[in-house]
């Protein structure tokens, strides 16, 4: 579904991604782990067309998207829920959700809205509230809900559990699992290594802009060096 090969990229002159290869198959949850500064968010932003790739290739459902603009990538169904939520703070919850379907899924906006509100029932009572006044957890629900409004074929979640209570984190991971069961493919970038590995079928560990490890969660957990470096165990 997503095939990244030999990707180099970064900001201006600074190369962050040093020839990285990664893929996500249809129907998979793939966890992307690594220290802060490893380049995970740069990778997301390059895949989504926010930063240009220096070289290498990104293909989505067999189609080369390396040079596409971000709105074209969204239209193809590759949707990112960015780190730090990035909701529009001065717009209402409803407006934020509607904007999720600006480029994709617009014809089915009403139906998708209903679906999203079924998943995040708490948002139903907050629709007219200004997004900036929501709590951290509510904003995270809104950000994911906004992503779902675009009918993603592949959803990239960048640290969705950040700042959420243990209970909400548990609900979030359950939700990701359920969405995945309904055929959504997910690339999950997380610092919550333990719970990510519980729901992921495969995992990549990234360090200094390249892939250090790739394999099943069991293989990762069986590697004492990785366990020490990323799980703090």
């Amino acid at each position: 579904m997503l095939e990244i090969s030999g990707l180099r990229g970064g900001y201006g002159q600074v190369e962050v991604l040093r020839g990285l290869s990664l893929n996500v198959a249809r129907g998979e949850i793939v966890a992307l782990l690594g220290s802060n500064g490893a380049g995970k968010s740069t990778l997301n932003n390059t895949v989504c067309g926010l930063f240009p790739a220096f070289s290498g290739r990104i293909a989505f459902e067999g189609r080369d998207i390396t040079r596409l603009r971000s709105h074209e990538i969204i239209a193809a169904g590759l949707i990112q829920v960015p780190e730090g939520r990035r909701v529009f703070p001065d717009l209402s919850v409803l407006e934020n959700l509607e904007l999720g379907s600006y480029r994709r899924g617009r014809e089915r906006r009403a139906r998708n809205l209903e679906k999203v509100l079924l998943i995040f029932s708490k948002l139903k009572n907050l629709l007219s509230r200004t997004a900036g006044t929501l709590s951290g957890g509510e904003q995270q629900m809104l950000a994911i809900g906004r992503g779902l409004m675009a009918e993603p074929r592949l959803l990239i979640l960048d640290e969705p559990s950040l700042g959420l209570s243990p209970l909400l984190v548990e609900e979030l991971f359950l939700l990701i699992k359920n969405l995945n069961r309904e055929s959504l493919s997910v690339l999950l970038v997380e610092q919550n290594v333990g719970q990510s590995l519980e729901i992921a079928q495969r995992a990549y560990v990234m360090e200094n802009g390249a892939i250090l490890f790739h394999g099943s969660p069991e293989e990762l957990l069986a590697n004492p060096d990785l366990k020490r470096a990323y799980l703090g165990l």
Binding site: N36, L164, S165, P166, Q191, V193
Partner: protein, 246 residues
């Protein structure tokens, strides 16, 4: 008691964000404030540190009534806080950022910069002093946020989710740092969702839910409290904590 909050309440529009909360923070301890998202934890921080004025109730710092005091005056009295979303001066160096806090105590530039270096060493940023703050990773920025608050020489330090966004390894690195602050005599009040940190650090824990306190005790006591499991932890996390890992 270094800090006492008495029957404090504040509403936004129709929403009662914090309702009749009373709590006391013991000097020289690490106290954790936990609770669901939207429970009012950050609002309570804002009320205590002067960023918000309560509708009713009082705040006492070292037995002095400071209700509604301006944040910079609270800071001068010895109460510093960090923010969840860190906003350093990106183009300025790490040292210059920390010096902003140090200037509360040192009028002279050279003194403030020297104090900044000392604080940087304390939080593990000594090797990053001349880097632009914007070039730090999240883990570095969180340390910088802590350093800026520490540079004001607080007696009471309010930490708002300093561990959010760090991976387990990075969290393990920060725990001894926070413990060291307490051991040096700084009282710490921390809002935190990383339960392994709360369990390992906190001497006392308060639990806030829907703007009200629902439990108080040691971390082990509150995490086995049924209302806390229901409102905050969930059964999975509670079981993992009981088994000894979060």
């Amino acid at each position: 008691m270094i800090l006492q909050v008495e029957d404090i309440s504040v509403s936004f529009g129709g929403v009662a964000a914090v309702q009749d909360v009373s709590l006391a923070i013991e000097i020289g301890k690490i106290t954790a404030l936990i609770g669901p998202n939207g429970a009012g934890k950050t609002t309570l921080f804002n009320l205590v540190s002067g960023f918000l004025k309560p509708d009713s109730g009082r705040v006492f710092f070292e037995a002095k009534d400071i209700t509604g005091i301006a944040p910079h005056l609270a800071c001068r009295l010895g109460m510093a806080r960090t923010f969840q979303i860190v906003q350093p001066f990106g183009a300025q160096s790490v040292k210059e950022n920390i010096a902003v806090g140090a200037h509360l105590r040192y009028a002279g530039r050279a003194d403030a910069l020297r104090a900044a270096e000392e604080v940087a060493a304390r939080v593990g940023l000594a090797s990053e002093l001349d880097k632009a703050a914007a070039s730090l990773t999240i883990a570095g920025r969180k340390r910088l946020e802590l350093a800026r608050a520490l540079a004001t020489q607080p007696k009471l330090l309010l930490l708002d989710e300093v561990l959010a966004g760090l991976n387990p390894r990075e969290i393990a690195d920060v725990l001894p740092l926070v413990r060291g602050l307490r051991d040096s005599g700084i009282t710490v009040l921390m809002v935190e969702h990383v339960m392994q940190a709360v369990m390992s650090l906190a001497d006392a824990t308060w639990v806030l839910s829907n703007g009200k306190l629902i439990a108080h005790g040691t971390p082990a006591q509150v995490t086995s409290h049924p209302a806390v499991v229901e409102a905050y932890l969930g059964h999975g996390a509670a079981a993992r904590l009981k088994a000894g890992y979060a």
